[in-house]
Amino acid sequence: MARAADGRDVIVASNLSRTFRRADRQMVTALDDVTFGIDRGQFVCLVGPSGCGKSTLLKLIAGLMLPSSGALEVEGESVTQPGPERGMVFQQDSVFPWLRVIDNVEYGLKCRGVGRAERRKSAEFYLERVGLSHVARAWPRELSGGMLKRVAVATVFANGANVLLLDEPFGAVDYVTKRNLHDVLLALWTEAGSTERRTVVFVTHDVDEALILADRILVMHSGRIVDDLAVTAPRPRTTDGLMEPTMVRHKHVLLAHLGLENLQGDAKAPTGGEGTEP
């Protein structure tokens, strides 16, 4: 379903599959022959019901596990292991509880041998950007869930990865905080200027979140990519913007894919991204 790869792509997946053997010896196909390419600097959202293989795909790109079959390339190189050029914000809290907030944000830079003063400056900058300067010296256990997510975002941004993989980062965050985090994330992403923007793959099951954030939405179902929508609405996008006709159409398509078409009186059946291909 998804557009095949071309020369400009940062991430290229060809016939990518991944199976797991569960504890009860059943084989589970988490990712089933997936092929796609992702443009440099694009903000791509990955939408699909839970258990459809989103996290698996992200972990493959991160290099935290290897595919069962197929090929995966990032920046023209086959992915065999994790590396700092592919930053990841995990679905679970991954902020180290044993480091103070600012030391967490610095950690990647420290691993890569950046000097003390320089990494402190960078960490302070990104903490300020996510609005957490006041808790720089706090322990993570003293922070709320939403604050921890902001620390994780600051950490990957400070580390300067070209590809950012975010796995339902704001899934457990309340609505208002989530909207604020969207603004922070988009500001960090946009300010780099369109030529050197980082490529973002953002997993979510929240349709509105995807429509606010994405240049492109890949829809997954049962380990396959079943739709590929281009969202061309101008930024910054607002809640009002979500009521524009094209956005409403996208939303109906997405909800239908998630199995909610009956709840939407005037929704159409999935159309394979009708009128949305670039």
Binding site: P84, R86, Y107, G108
Partner: protein, 265 residues
């Protein structure tokens, strides 16, 4: 918080002495000596205990024995904790090695010290080595279990996060596996240390030239209850004092963890 616990601890101590004092009215002094007499004996025997000369020991006292016993306990805990922790962390991550080491260490831990001690005395003599190794084994088994459990329950997401941030394997071991399990490992060391005093005393009882256990062994034949109580009391005081210090230090090191905050670590 800490201040209040100190006061409570003091009250507990006073109560203990009071109960002891009361019991001496009911139990003959030959079985349970008077607390004041025991305190007196500690003073008398502290530097040079005359009766030890009588039993053929060199000129020595409670202080020398306390130093000897303390040194052995600390060496044994350091040695056992290092071996146990390393084995525990490694086996938590490598199932194959775990399958090999698990039975060895866990069986070793269930052998009573009374069974093990004679062999060690034959192999290593009645010097420091026997006692230290005996105690170290039990410390190692405790730390093995604690470290293994700590590493097994450490969320793998931290290791994944470290790798995606660019950490090397060595860094992940130090910065995640070790730092992330420190509170539980220190908790294990505290428990092992508490038990080590008693084990060391037993090891000395069974065969040694010096130490608190040796004093108890020497006096046991003479039914010198005051002397035995004096020796056991200084051993107990050592254990309590060292536990208090390690607890302070450990809660400082584990300040980040919830366990430390609630006093569990």
């Amino acid at each position: 918080m800490a201040q209040r616990f100190d006061v409570l601890g003091l009250i507990g101590l006073v109560l203990l002495v009071a109960v002891w004092q009361l019991l001496t009215f009911a139990i003959p002094l030959i079985a349970l000596p008077h607390p004041a007499h025991v305190a007196e004996r500690i003073g008398e025997d502290f530097i040079v205990a005359d009766y030890l000369l009588f039993y053929g020991l060199p000129e020595t006292g409670l202080l020398d024995s306390m130093i000897y016993t303390t040194q052995n306990v600390l060496i044994a805990v350091a040695l056992g904790a290092t071996v146990g922790t390393v084995c525990g962390l490694v086996t938590a991550r490598f199932d194959l090695i775990r399958a090999v080491i698990d039975p060895v260490l866990l069986v070793l831990g269930t052998i009573p010290i009374l069974v093990l001690a004679p062999f060690f005395l034959i192999w290593f003599g009645t010097g420091r080595t026997s006692a230290v190794l005996l105690v170290a084994i039990y410390v190692a088994v405790i730390l093995y279990i604690y470290a293994q459990r700590a590493a097994s329950t450490l969320n793998p997401v931290y290791e994944d996060a470290a790798y995606t941030l660019g950490a090397s394997r060595r860094r992940v071991v130090w910065d995640v596996l070790i730092k992330g399990t420190v509170p539980q490992i220190l908790g294990g060391i505290r428990i092992a240390l508490a038990g080590a005093w008693g084990l060391e005393a037993i090891a000395e009882l069974l065969g040694a030239q010096q130490g608190i256990g040796k004093i108890v062994q020497v006096l046991a034949g003479s039914t010198d209850m005051e002397g035995i109580f004096a020796a056991l009391l200084v051993l107990g005081i050592l254990a309590v004092v060292f536990d208090a210090f390690t607890a302070r230090f450990f809660s400082y090191v584990s300040a980040w963890s919830v366990e430390a905050r609630t006093g569990g670590g």
